[in-house]
């Protein structure tokens, strides 16, 4: 499992934040780089990421007086940035649950799985080492609707657990699990030609 945002090393996490102009500038300069990178990972767009980071810092400055230092500054800002990114996705109506039923597994009338036998099974390392195949995999991941891709991203990459993802997205934990499972099942179908070695 990926790591949680690391407990921050900087001095700010050790001292209370008073929000003086000098401290505010330091907070921005110390954190803006990774926050931009995080927002860009979630939105896939640099200009939107800049908007989000601006919103995130405004939210952070507003929340400073209530920040109790229970987590590190970085963990706190990480969550604020994720929330601001999700808010942006909602505003853009990119988080609506779109159907990916065409990619879900198939069963016959006896509830037996329909699965063509696998004669070849490409190794993940071989796929990832091949530049063209790696690009193809990224392209297929990017075709997943945001409502599914974001769950994959938050859980598998940013290190949030199922309960935290549910809270962030304001959906139930079972819905998070359903989306995660469907996203992987859909990806399996999308990537079958690569995994079966039919695309080289």
């Amino acid at each position: 499992m990926p790591e949680k945002p690391p407990e921050h090393e900087d001095a700010l996490s050790e001292t209370p934040l008073h929000g003086s102009p000098v401290e505010a500038e330091r907070l921005v300069r110390d954190n803006i780089g990774w926050m931009l990178a995080l927002a860009q990972r979630m939105l896939g767009d640099r200009a939107l990421a800049e908007d989000v980071v601006q919103d995130a810092f405004i939210a952070a400055f507003r929340g400073l007086p209530t920040f109790e230092g229970r987590s590190s500054v970085k963990t706190w800002l990480h969550r604020i940035t994720v929330n601001a990114s999700l808010m942006k996705l909602r505003k853009l109506k990119r988080l609506g649950e779109q159907s990916i039923d065409e990619y879900v597994p198939e069963f016959d009338r006896y509830d037996c799985r329909i699965e063509t036998p696998w004669s070849t099974f490409a190794r993940a390392e071989d796929i990832l080492e091949n530049e063209r195949l790696r690009a193809l995999v990224s392209e297929k991941v990017a075709t997943l609707p945001d409502a599914y891709r974001i769950v994959l991203h938050l859980r598998d990459i940013e290190g949030y657990d199922t309960g935290e993802v549910a809270e962030l997205l304001d959906i139930s934990t079972s819905n998070v699990k359903v989306r995660l499972h469907r996203a992987r099942a859909a990806l399996k179908k999308l990537l079958e030609p690569v995994l079966r070695g039919e695309v080289r």
């Binding site: 990926p2 945002p5 102009p21 505010a24 500038e25 921005v28 300069r29 803006i32 780089g33 990774w34 931009l36 990178a37 995080l38 860009q40 990972r41 800049e50 980071v53 601006q54 810092f57 405004i58 400055f61 597994p105 069963f107 016959d108 009338r109 006896y110 509830d111 037996c112 799985r113 329909i114 699965e115 036998p117 696998w118 099974f121 993940a124 796929i127 990832l128 790696r134 995999v137 990224s138 991941v141 994959l152 991203h153 598998d156 990459i157 940013e158 199922t162 699990k177 995660l180 499972h181 996203a183 992987r184 099942a185 990806l187 399996k188 990537l191 079958e192 995994l195």
Partner: protein
């Protein structure tokens, strides 16, 4: 035609066996447990039923192997927090943020 008929009978038999026999689940029921199995959230009994199905069902074995590989590929290609943070943070963005704070 004969082959199709044989396959049909085999699948009917498999479905019948999975539905009726003790400690068996159908492939459709198996599907509902995949994520919990991989997350280690099944009870001992559920895990043993799940793994028993895996032993006897070639289709679900193949499916699970492909599913796991895809999860691995997804993790590998999604942009990672370990990638270097870009250093070209625009000064005007920093200024806009600090100005907004003053307002």
């Amino acid at each position: 035609m004969n082959h199709q008929r044989k396959t049909g009978v085999r699948r009917w038999l498999k479905g019948f066996m999975l539905k009726r026999m003790h400690r068996m689940i159908t492939c459709k029921e198996f599907e509902d447990f995949v994520l919990s199995y991989l997350d280690g959230e099944l009870t001992n009994r559920q895990r043993s039923v799940f793994e028993w199905h895996l032993r006897i069902c070639r289709e679900c074995r193949d499916y699970l192997a492909a599913y796991q590989r895809v999860a691995e590929l997804g993790r590998a290609v999604l942009p990672s927090p370990n990638e270097p943070v870009p250093e070209d943070v625009p000064e005007d963005l920093i200024k806009a943020i600090l100005d907004a704070r003053e307002r």
